[in-house]
């Protein structure tokens, strides 16, 4: 249990992706079955343990210690799980010779009924030390919140076994904790596990951005062009009565889109974009789509107001027939005839964009006919459907980003290589009546600048600090003083969480405007106008 607890503690404080991968692969290498597989399941959210409510946790602890002292402690720490793990009284003489393993803890928790759950939990806490207690509480209260996505965990597995992540993704949904066969294969001790489950995820094909000069070398007649829809790339798989909707990284998102999965009355694997609206009438904007995202369950009202549909790009399989090796032109023909059999309120085809030459396509790309189009896709007519991001067959050619001139307001110190640099910037634009303008924060960015520019901004931050809050400094920013940053971003969402009412997608610093006076930076109305488009 201690090794798992230590892993959680390290992961939550390690900001760099590579650092997290190292910690995870080291853990997989040094910890045996079934603990490592259970840890993996805990991280990916695939471990099923009956939850214990925070209120119950509080009752358990105040039965064992003075409530006043507990109150002081909780006030100070602010986190219930952490407080309980620290103050839980260890009765001398009751300490076992060794702490329980993760496997033992999970087995006990899974065997506990709802009514004796709290008692089992208390017994486990009695038998564990501080870090292990924290990990146990995290397991039973749900949600580890350690900044590791299922995708990152799969990448760590791939690194551990030196295989491609697509192999892990393809296998994933047929496997279950503690993944003993998977680890045996990754360690070279057994054959690759055979997947017999229905409606599995197939690794998706991704594209590369069009780089400078790329197109000059390509013949436009070799390529088909489609709009690049700015929804959620999904894979719809129906097989043997099982319907599943996967994200492009293989996460099962079926639960959030029951309206769409119900409509998957076919036996095939389709690749497409999840959007909202009725494809026969109108496609919703990204803000509309947002209403349906990041939800585990969805109300009926929400389904009616923002119905989900799929705009199909490709077909990987029909019935038992694997079509992935066919050229795109043939797959597309199969898709067109297949799409005719589908529910037209839930499925449509992504239309081709006709273009005589690159110049004409460039013009179309710049002025797309719908706000939820973020550019064009180019696909070689003869390309097979292959996993990953091969260079050449598919390109994405995005619309130019939006830009806004904003004023630097706060800077935060970075981590690792950047730990002595103020490298994360919060910036704002002007709002309020003339003469009473105030800066309102609209976003945060931590890349887009060169190392040299980073040094310059860092110096500026240190020379113009107004206040410090831990690793954050607020920087002098008013009508007469301030550093103007040109910020590029892909789009804007409405936000109720931010005071400004907007949230930027993918913001980054595109230019430092040392030359521009702060009072000439943009106003919030400029951004609001973008929202309403």
């Amino acid at each position: 249990m201690n090794r798992f607890a230590e892993l959680l503690d390290r992961l939550v404080l390690t900001p760099s992706r590579n650092g997290k991968l190292t910690l995870l692969t080291d853990y997989f290498r040094t910890v045996e079955d079934p603990d490592r597989g259970l840890a993996l399941a805990a991280i990916t959210g695939d471990l099923n343990i009956a939850a214990v409510k925070p209120a119950m946790l509080r009752i358990l602890v105040t039965e064992r210690m003075d409530p006043v002292l507990f109150g002081y402690s909780y006030d100070y720490v602010g986190d219930l799980a952490e407080t309980v793990s620290l103050v839980w009284p260890q009765t001398p003489g009751n300490i076992p010779n060794r702490e329980p393993t993760l496997g033992e803890v999970v087995a006990k928790l899974q065997a506990a009924s709802r009514s004796d759950g709290p008692k089992v939990l208390a017994g486990l806490l009695d038998s564990a030390g501080i870090s292990a207690r924290f990990a146990i509480i995290k397991l039973v209260t749900g949600g580890l919140r350690i900044g590791v996505s299922a995708r990152l965990a799969k990448q760590a597995l791939a690194d551990f076994g030196t295989v491609d992540i697509t192999e892990i993704e393809e296998l994933w949904h047929g496997l279950s904790p503690p993944y003993t066969a998977l680890f045996a294969w990754l360690e070279g001790k057994a054959e690759k596990p055979r997947n017999t489950a229905m409606a599995l995820f197939r690794p998706v094909m991704l594209s590369n951005p069009v780089g400078d000069g790329d197109l000059e070398k390509l013949d436009p007649t070799d390529y088909a062009a489609e709009w690049k829809w700015d929804g959620i790339r999904v894979q719809a798989v129906a097989e043997g009565g099982i319907h599943r909707l996967y994200s492009r990284t293989g996460d099962d998102v079926s639960g959030a889109f029951p309206d769409l999965t119900e409509a998957m009355q076919f036996s095939a694997t389709l690749d497409g974009e999840l959007l909202v609206g009725d494809p026969r009438q109108a496609t919703g904007t990204f803000s509309d789509l947002q209403q349906r995202l990041n939800r585990k369950t969805v109300t009926l009202k929400m389904q009616q107001q923002y119905p989900a549909f799929m705009r199909c790009y490709d077909v990987l399989q029909i019935g038992g027939e694997d079509l992935r090796a066919l050229p795109f032109r043939e797959r597309r023909a199969r898709l067109e005839s297949f799409a005719g059999t589908l529910d037209p309120s839930r499925f449509d085809l992504s239309p081709f964009v006709a273009f005589p030459d690159w110049q004409a396509l460039e013009e179309l790309r710049r002025a797309p006919p719908h706000p939820i189009i973020e550019g064009v896709m180019l696909k070689r007519w003869d390309s097979a459907y292959v996993a990953g991001r091969p260079k050449g067959p598919w390109f994405k050619w995005k619309r130019d980003p939006h830009t806004v001139d904003a004023v630097l307001m706060y800077a935060q110190r970075g981590h690792g290589k950047r730990s002595s640099f103020y490298s994360d910037y919060t910036f704002g634009v002007w709002s309020g009546a003339e003469g009473e303008e105030q800066l309102v924060p609209v976003g945060k960015a931590y890349f887009g600048f060169t190392d040299e520019e980073l040094k310059q901004i860092d110096k500026y931050v240190r020379d113009n600090t107004v206040e410090r809050f831990g690793p954050v400094r607020s920087v002098r920013a008013d009508r007469d003083n301030g550093l103007v940053l040109e910020v590029a971003f892909e789009g804007l969402n409405r936000s109720t969480r931010h005071k400004s009412g907007v949230a930027m997608r993918f913001p980054r610093i595109s230019r430092l405007r040392w030359d521009k006076p702060a009072n000439e930076a943009d106003r919030i109305e400029t951004l609001q106008a973008l929202l309403d488009r």
């Binding site: 006043v68 507990f70 002081y72 100070y76 620290l86 103050v87």
Partner: protein
């Protein structure tokens, strides 16, 4: 005296003393703006402003200030004050040996090891049958860089409460150092920057690294040089130390290195000479995850030179004191614990002591 702190059938000793003809504790020591004052002995303990006569528990700057007319402290504390403030830090100095009784205006004063940092002492003040022990800062976990704390039986025990909450439970320091060495092995291409207070903590961390078998040079920030050298001269072996300067080597030489410096230095431009550093911080505060997170600490090391909750409560019981005065830190929780145990206790409001020492 808080009413609720006292059982009615059991008056605190301090209130009975005038009846018995012994001294009332609060007449022997009480807080004044300058610090804790002893009227019959006419001296202060750890005064925060210049005074005529000061008794100093240890060399941390919030306890040991310069400019007093005369200072009584252990030789090591005097040496440390000399290193920090220059030889003329006080008018006159007198060295106290552990256990030796010194009489000041009829008041018996003696110094006893506190286990906090090198030279740190508790000060026992005894007069007319009443003994008060001012512990200064102390800890009970074993520390190879200073003499271990000795419990002194007394009537009133003045305890610090820096970590006076039940959440503060320091793990064995060996485990923490093992995590540091494990991380250094996991990330051999990066350097580990360990933030540690310049007096005491830094040297303890280095010594712990040596005890754990780490024999490569440890790189240190300039602010640590004089004190570390002094520790070595006092027979505390810290092994090979090298200045963490760019001249001493290129950037790559710091790959895999352990660097120790004051915590403030790591936010500074000074830290740029190290390749992709992992920031570590050796402090009792690192027990609280949010403290680590807010400070951008990637590897918190819970190593403290102050007593944790269990050490505080065990020590209070061990001294047998009938009354506890609680100072600098989280007084209310410790006072509450004493109430529950039936020990008279009150917060002693002293100003000017910070928790920076950890």
């Amino acid at each position: 005296m808080r009413e609720s702190a006292v059982a009615y059938n059991r008056l605190p000793a301090a209130e009975l003393y005038p009846i018995l003809g012994v001294m009332r504790a609060s007449d022997l020591l009480h807080p004044r703006p300058e610090g804790l004052y002893c009227p019959p002995g006419d001296f202060f303990i750890d005064p925060v402003r210049p005074v005529n006569r000061a008794l100093i528990t240890h060399g941390h700057s919030d306890h040991a200030r310069s400019g007093h007319r005369s200072v009584l402290a252990t030789q090591q504390t005097l040496d440390i004050m000399g290193l920090r403030y220059g030889e003329d830090f006080a008018g006159t100095t007198q060295a106290a040996r552990f256990g030796e009784t010194i009489v000041l205006n009829g008041v018996n004063v003696s110094f006893h090891p506190a286990g906090h940092v090198l030279g740190s002492a508790q000060i026992s003040v005894e007069h007319q049958g009443t003994r008060i022990v001012a512990s200064g800062d102390y800890k009970r976990q074993r520390d190879a860089t200073c003499a271990p704390f000795e419990p002194i039986p007394c009537d009133v025990f003045i305890t610090e409460a820096t970590f006076g909450l039940p959440v503060f439970r320091h793990p064995p320091d060996k485990e923490e150092i093992a995590r540091l060495l494990k991380s250094a092995a996991q990330f051999p291409e990066r350097s580990h920057l360990v933030g540690a207070y310049a007096l005491g903590k830094a040297q303890r961390v280095m010594r712990l690294l040596r005890d754990a078998g780490h024999c490569k040079p440890i790189y240190i920030h300039g602010a640590l040089a004089k004190l570390s050298e002094y520790y070595q001269s006092q027979g505390i072996d810290l092994g090979p130390l090298e200045p963490a300067t760019v001249e001493s080597g290129g950037r790559q030489d710091f790959a895999g290195a352990i660097v120790v410096g004051p915590p403030s230095a790591f936010a500074d431009r000074w830290a740029r000479r190290f390749p992709d550093p992992i920031s570590c911080f050796a402090s009792g505060w690192m027990r609280i995850r949010q403290r680590a997170k807010q400070g951008g600490v990637e590897l918190p090391l819970i190593i403290s030179d102050h007593a944790d909750w269990d050490e505080l409560t065990a020590t209070i019981k061990e001294t047998g004191a009938e009354e506890i005065w609680v100072t600098h830190g989280r007084e209310e929780a410790l006072v509450r614990w004493c109430e529950l145990e039936g020990i008279a206790a009150r917060p002693l409001h002293l100003v000017g002591y910070e928790d920076e020492g950890d």
